[in-house]
């Protein structure tokens, strides 16, 4: 079970800020594949991965990062702080 979080327009597109996901995905990319296959709103949010960033357990990660042991995965657009 992984807690999946969405921020900014990813959150808006998917319609929820977070959800628990039952998954056997071994990498972030596999998790993205499972989510995108769910519904059109997920497919739309994950249509262009180059426009997305991912954090695993609150650390920026790549899409090929392993999920073994991860409790929290977040998807969001490039950050615009400062």
């Amino acid at each position: 079970m992984i807690e999946v979080l969405y921020f900014a327009w990813v959150r808006e597109r998917i319609g929820i800020p977070r959800e628990k996901v039952e998954t056997e995905a071994e990498t972030v990319a596999e998790l993205v594949g499972e989510l995108a296959a769910r519904e059109a709103r997920y497919a739309a949010a994950f249509a262009d991965l180059s426009a997305l960033r991912v954090a695993v357990d609150q650390e920026l990660a790549d899409f090929d990062a392993p999920l073994k042991g991860a409790r929290e995965v977040a998807f969001f657009p490039p950050m615009t702080g400062g």
Binding site: R11, A55, M79, G81
Partner: protein, 150 residues
């Protein structure tokens, strides 16, 4: 050593700068940067900032720790707001204190470059007409990070 505050409340940059400066010892140079909501010639009504609680503190803590490793600093302050704010209000500030000015300037610019692109904040602008749009990340902000590579 760094003081990091993530908050919705407005803050007074001048009072923060005074307090920060009085608390550090041995500093000969203090640099501050304050980011302010521009009004874009009256077209911007408000700005809203979303963040990722938990990761925000962690990411900024890491950035500040790296600044303290790279430069000889006497102190380091980061305040960043989230939630709604109005044109003219301060969004965030960083302050750095050091024995010498080159360190204070470099650390402040480093903190800003990393906060822009590596701390999980997302800005949304609401126009005077009530339209809301997420601010797109700028390529130049990503490029700015390259100058800090070893």
């Amino acid at each position: 050593m760094a003081e990091i505050r993530i908050q919705t409340e407005p803050f007074a940059q001048g009072a923060e700068l005074e307090r920060f400066t009085e608390a550090v010892t041995g500093a000969g140079a203090v640099v501050s940067f304050t980011g302010i909501v521009r009004d874009e010639g009256g077209t911007l009504a408000a700005m809203e900032i979303e963040h990722y609680p938990g990761m925000t503190e962690r990411a900024i803590g890491r950035i500040a720790a790296e600044a303290e490793e790279r430069w000889h600093l006497s102190g380091c302050l980061v305040i960043h707001r989230h939630g709604p704010m109005r044109p003219g209000e301060a969004i965030m500030m960083v302050a750095t204190a050091a024995p010498h000015r080159a360190d204070a300037f470099a650390a402040a610019e480093f903190l800003m470059d990393y906060l822009k692109s590596r701390a999980p904040f997302w800005k949304r602008e609401i126009t005077a007409e009530g339209e809301a749009a997420w601010v797109a990340a700028k390529e130049e902000d990503e490029d700015a990070l390259s100058r800090w590579q070893p």
